[in-house]
């Protein structure tokens, strides 16, 4: 099976403080591999390093040690090709509230170099799939949180990426909206063979067939299928496994 994204001993150090610099390790030698068409849940408490990992995969900044490879392209060396195969939904909303849904999506298509006709066609397809096509001329400001998230997911798929990164995309949403997004992403993965890396701290968003990466204080504590991790930790559910590994409630 082809690999959508892999990391090899990915390490990230930060410094804090103005006069006196204090070093702080954000990620410590992270190594994992995500095959195409699979959903990986990235679980970890606040401060575990989930956002740092996403920032390194999307090359918001670079690591000095280790590497990230997307679709066979090194993110540092071949960043254009690597980022072209990547769709991202960030934790914070990134749509422009003063512009319409269509304007936001066309902007994304322009940044990815899609010709106008193809862009319009893909926008129509993605919005129809999300039941949002009729609302394409509405300003984003007028949409509720769940609908905004749907538009962000539609946007992340417009350039047909091989890897979809979701950074806690259900934060602040009600239960039905959360469930709808979780189901939609799993459906995407099955139908289009998109690999998904889903960062969350909500255990109930994990499906039985998903694979997991459990991160704590910058270290990868466990990786594998849900069943494997339960056997490894001798626990009955993911919440208990998470607690056993991290010492924190899931």
């Amino acid at each position: 099976m082809a690999t959508a994204v892999s990391t090899d001993r990915l390490t990230k150090d930060f410094t804090t403080g103005f006069w006196r610099q204090h070093p702080h390790r954000g990620l410590d030698a992270l190594t994992f591999e995500i095959p195409t068409g699979s959903v990986f849940g990235l679980l970890g408490p606040n401060g575990a390093g989930k956002s740092t990992l996403f920032a390194l995969i999307t090359r918001l900044y670079d690591s000095r040690e280790g590497r990230v490879v997307i679709n066979g392209y090194d993110v540092r060396r071949d960043s254009r090709q690597a980022l072209a195969g990547l769709g991202v939904v960030f934790q914070q909303p990134t749509l422009d509230p003063d512009l319409s849904v269509a304007q936001n999506l066309h902007y994304h298509c322009d940044l990815h170099g899609l010709p106008g006709r193809i862009a319009s066609q893909r926008i129509r397809e993605e919005l129809e799939r999300q039941g949002m096509y009729e609302r394409r001329w509405e300003k984003v400001r007028q949409l509720n949180g769940g609908h905004r998230r749907r538009v962000e997911i539609a946007r992340a798929l417009l350039h047909q990426p091989a890897l979809l990164l979701l950074d806690e995309p259900t934060v602040g949403l009600d239960v039905p909206s959360r469930r709808a997004i979780v189901d939609y992403v799993h459906q995407l993965c099955a139908e289009r063979r998109v690999a998904v890396l889903w960062a969350s701290h909500l255990i109930d968003e994990i499906h039985a067939g998903d694979r997991l990466l459990i991160l704590h204080r910058g270290c990868l504590l466990a990786q594998g299928g849900v069943a494997e991790i339960l056997v490894e930790t001798e626990t009955a559910d993911i919440g208990a496994a998470f607690q056993t590994l991290t010492g924190e409630a899931g």
Binding site: K12, F14, T15, T16, G26, S51, T52, A55, T58, R59, L60, Y61, D62, R76, S79, R80, Q81, A82, L83, A84, L86, V88, F90, Q91, Q92, P93, T94, L95, D96, D98, L99, Q103, H106, Y107, H108, C109, D110, L111, H112, G113, L114, P115
Partner: protein, 266 residues
């Protein structure tokens, strides 16, 4: 190549659409220089006489003298506003959409700079349109020569804003920098008084105003309004543009910049 052009189009269209949507921003950008023109300049008309000096061929009213400075003010505020919105976008996350696009980061930032500059050019011409009714006018040639001068000055001031935004992590810090950047740049320049006037009161202030890149931007605009190209000012502004842009790109470099060191979330 087409990808680059589409990205440029997307960024420019987005910036202009945002500007059209935000009517309050447009009005406030115009009200500020108009108050200076109609209130401040009118009050100082009788106390500040301006001697004949290039590019003027005769004695001029004070309103005429400060008009290029007020156009510079529009561009200065626009450059800072644009960088303020970048700090805001970075805090809110929408800047990430731009930075994770599959194009060189430097190119994306230059596109954003150009888009912001075009907005300030639009504002400057609207301001001149209003000033025309106040009998502050120039020739069609002057309005045409002004265009490249506005682009160059706007890019330089926008690059300064970009540089500031690359080093600032939070909006709260930005407010302080605005006071330390906008006011010194504007008041220690030839926007309000000619250099010889400043020299009469303080030699130090004269030196500072002489080397202030904003002064050179104002002089570039002043000569351009009269259909003349001030080569020295253009070269000075171009050099400042390259310096500010180079440092800003360093600041936004994922391997080297400030974000790298402090681990900003972009």
């Amino acid at each position: 190549m087409l990808h680059y052009l589409r990205a440029l189009r997307g960024i420019v269209v987005r910036e202009l659409s945002r500007f059209v949507q935000q009517k309050g921003r447009f009005i406030s950008a115009l009200v500020r220089p108009l108050i200076w023109l109609f209130v401040f300049a009118a009050g100082f008309r009788s106390t500040l006489g301006i001697a004949v000096m290039p590019p003027y061929e005769t004695y001029i009213l004070y309103e005429v003298y400060i008009t290029p400075g007020l156009i510079g003010m529009i561009q200065l505020f626009n450059g800072m506003q644009s960088s303020l919105s970048m700090v805001y976008d970075r805090e809110m996350g929408s800047m990430r959409t731009l930075l994770v696009s599959p194009l060189p980061r430097g190119y994306l930032l230059v596109c954003k700079l150009l888009a912001g500059t075009l907005v300030s050019v639009l504002q400057a011409y609207v301001f001149l349109g209003i000033a025309w009714f106040y009998e502050i006018e120039t020739s069609w040639q002057g309005y045409a020569t002004l265009f490249p001068a506005l682009l160059l000055a706007g890019m330089m001031l926008g690059a300064l804003g970009l540089l500031l935004s690359s080093f600032i992590r939070q909006l709260e810090n930005f407010a302080g920098v605005m006071n330390f950047v906008i006011f010194p740049l504007f008041f220690m320049s030839t926007a309000l008084y000619p250099l010889w006037r400043i020299k009469e009161s303080s030699a130090l202030l004269h030196t500072l105003a002489q080397y202030n890149p904003f002064s050179q931007a104002v002089e570039l605009l002043r000569f351009a309004l009269y259909g003349q190209w001030n080569g020295y000012a253009a070269a000075y502004v171009s050099a400042a543009l390259l310096a500010f842009l180079g440092l800003a790109l360093w600041g936004y470099n994922p391997s080297k910049g400030m974000m790298q060191r402090k681990g900003a979330t972009a």
